[in-house]
Amino acid sequence: MLNGLNVGLMTILVGLYGMTRTKNSVKMIMCLGIMGSGVILLFVSVGYIPGAGAPIVGHSAEMVDPLPHTVMLTAIVIDLATMALGLALVYHLYEEYGTLDVTDYLGGED
């Protein structure tokens, strides 16, 4: 069944699969972004009711559930902050180690 909930879950799993297959530190952050998008889709479709309008009083007879949408506003901001911080760390790691391969970072002493 192809609805938002299932597609969201699948997107999360795609991101997770990507993280197990890649060694590139930038691509890892991209996979985090994909997982974040999956969660957003999942939540938004949890609150969705077919045929319902925007959650404004007097706008339409039936309204979608606004609570998951507000939760997602917070989650989007958190995603943004995490990815920005992650990319900043990747930048510094590249300056220090000269490589983007995460397996090369292991065992490096100061």
Binding site: M35, G86, H92
Partner: protein, 550 residues
């Protein structure tokens, strides 16, 4: 006024952080900044002490913005969260006083304080909030600031540790959020109180599937075995006051969230058995691995993993005895592990290294020696110190489960062996002339005093703090009316004798086994690469789902 106390506890460090940021303009002196930080860390503890008499009548529930539960967000100060807040307040103040010695905090102490206060806000929020999404948000505040604070030593390895923690921690957060989404889909609530009514109505299958996501989230935070890979690096490369908070409090938020998840209805047999199994594997293997390192911070980090495994395994029994023993041991662990990490920081300050072959516990500064030895003996479980009493109750409540009982004695033995190994190896002849400043001494003295007093007053602590916490979680007690006879009755009971005998056994065995090479653990438990640790997470989700459908 008292009604607003739970909200003010969260707001105070946040306000402090913002005032600190604008104080650059009108209060440029460092002393004012230290004062602002100190006051904003002190306010929550003061508020808690003021509201303790009120707490005897029942939990304090604060509804944010006047929206009633379950529609609004609420803050709940009950037996368990007040205990956690007291612990958090003590540890953050000790860590802050220690960080007044700014030798380690490059490049900018102001930014450090700013982020530290934000992290404290997040931790208070995690402990106090009564809404599951709110708990997620507060945990994100904590964890995002932690990523930055780890890099404050400015070394290459700290950058690596921070990146590693960021990737694993973000996967855990996404999984937590997915679990919340599914929970909302099936129940339609986000408030913990409403969820605890709605979840037991769901079928066991659905509960197990949702918990597969929560397992990753909680597992990464508590660092039980397949999810523990981020912890040793992060603990070793963080600045010392930060390590103390990481090992003392941040790891415990995972255990706290686990208690709360059990409470709201994720207590099916499959989940509990899985966590008991994972916890025991964690406890035994991490204690073994700790014996292959020479870096004292690393040894302590691995022992943290081991002891958190013990706490989760015993708490997952989910009877009042197991829970109260787990809570008591959790507090004890916080006190002695913080003390030990701060002592190691002082040793690094004196000797310039944490390698146990190049430092000397006995020959350094007298106060540091006493504090370090008290911390180590408390961790090993010698009777007058608090570690012993936690272990005693853990054993007493697991009498009915022989495998668990045997493993706990095994963990106790391995921990003691690891401690005596530190004693045997750390007798370097190196002399040091450096003096320790008061800001390092004061937290060490306070915490070692708490380790001793906490051990001698276990009976009062059980009656007044642990029992209300257990009652808040389970609605029942293990035992009430502990008296001061406990202090020596524990020592001469069967469990006490077993504990002390295995302590002596470890002392004699440690003469012969000083080094373990443990080649098998390389790449499996320690030094796991990042893609591998994500693979572990996927495998664990698959295992839980598979067990569910078998």
């Amino acid at each position: 006024m008292l009604y607003h106390a739970p909200m003010l506890m969260v707001i105070a460090p946040l306000t402090g952080a913002l005032v600190l940021r604008i104080s650059n303009r009108f209060l440029p002196k460092q002393i004012y900044k230290d004062l602002i930080t100190f006051v904003s860390l002190l306010i929550p503890v003061f508020l808690l002490l003021v509201s303790l008499p009120r707490l005897r009548e029942g939990a304090m529930v604060y509804e944010m913005g006047g929206w009633p539960r379950p529609y609004g967000i609420s803050l709940v100060l009950d037996g368990l969260s007040s205990l956690m807040v007291l612990m958090l307040g003590t540890i953050t103040i000790c860590s802050f006083v220690y960080s007044l010695e700014k030798k380690e905090l490059i490049p900018k102490p102001d930014d450090y304080y700013f982020l530290f206060l934000f992290m404290t806000t997040g931790l208070y929020g995690v402990f106090l909030t009564g809404d599951i999404v709110n708990r997620f948000v507060f945990f994100e505040i904590t964890i995002l600031t932690t990523y930055v604070l780890i890099t404050y030593t400015g070394t290459k390895s700290s950058l690596r540790a921070s990146y590693y923690y960021l990737v694993v921690g973000s996967v855990a957060s996404v999984m937590f959020l997915t679990g919340i989404g599914l929970l909302y889909f099936f129940t339609g609530f986000l408030d913990m109180g409403a969820l605890s009514v709605a979840i037991p109505g769901l079928s066991t299958n659905i509960r197990n599937i949702i918990f597969a996501f929560f397992l990753v989230a909680v597992g990464v935070k508590v660092a039980i075995v397949p999810f523990h890979t981020w912890l040793p690096d992060a603990h070793v490369s963080a600045p010392t006051p930060m390590t103390a908070v990481l090992a003392g409090v941040t790891v415990k938020t995972g255990a706290y969230i686990l208690f709360k998840l059990f409470q709201i209805g994720f207590d099916t047999l499959l989940i509990r058995y899985l966590i008991v199994a994972l916890g025991l594997i964690t406890a035994l293997s991490a204690a073994l691995v700790s014996m292959k390192y020479y870096d004292m911070k690393k040894i302590l980090a691995w022992l943290t993993i081991s002891h958190m495994g013990v706490i989760t395994a015993v708490a997952a029994l989910w009877d009042p005895g197991g829970v109260s023993a787990a809570i008591l041991y959790l507090i004890n662990h916080t006190l002695y592990k913080t003390l030990l990490f701060l002592s190691v920081g002082a040793l690094i300050y004196l000797y310039g290294t944490a390698d146990i072959r190049k430092i000397s516990l006995k020959r350094s500064n007298i106060i540091l020696s006493i504090a370090g030895i008290i911390g180590l003996l408390s961790m090993a479980g010698l009777p007058p110190f608090n570690g012993f009493y936690g272990r005693y109750f853990l054993l007493e409540t697991t009498r009915r489960y022989p495998i668990l009982y045997g493993s706990l004695v095994g963990v106790h033995f391995l921990t003691a062996l690891s401690v005596f190994r530190i004693f045997r190896l750390s007798c370097s002849k190196a002399k040091t002339d450096d003096e320790l400043t008061e800001s390092i001494m004061v937290p060490l003295v306070v915490l070692s005093g708490l380790c001793l007093v906490g051990g001698l007053t276990t009976w009062a602590f059980m009656n007044n703090m642990v029992n209300p916490a257990t009652f808040a979680l389970m609605g029942g007690y293990y035992r009430t009316g502990f008296t001061w006879h406990l202090v020596y009755l524990n020592v001469i009971s069967a469990e006490g004798v077993i504990l002390i005998l295995s302590l002596f056994g470890a002392y004699f065995v440690s003469e012969h086994t000083v080094d373990l090479r443990l080649d098998w653990s390389e790449g499996v438990l320690s030094e796991v690469s990042l893609p591998d640790s994500i693979r572990y997470i996927v495998i664990m989700i698959a295992v839980l789902l598979l067990l569910n459908f078998l």
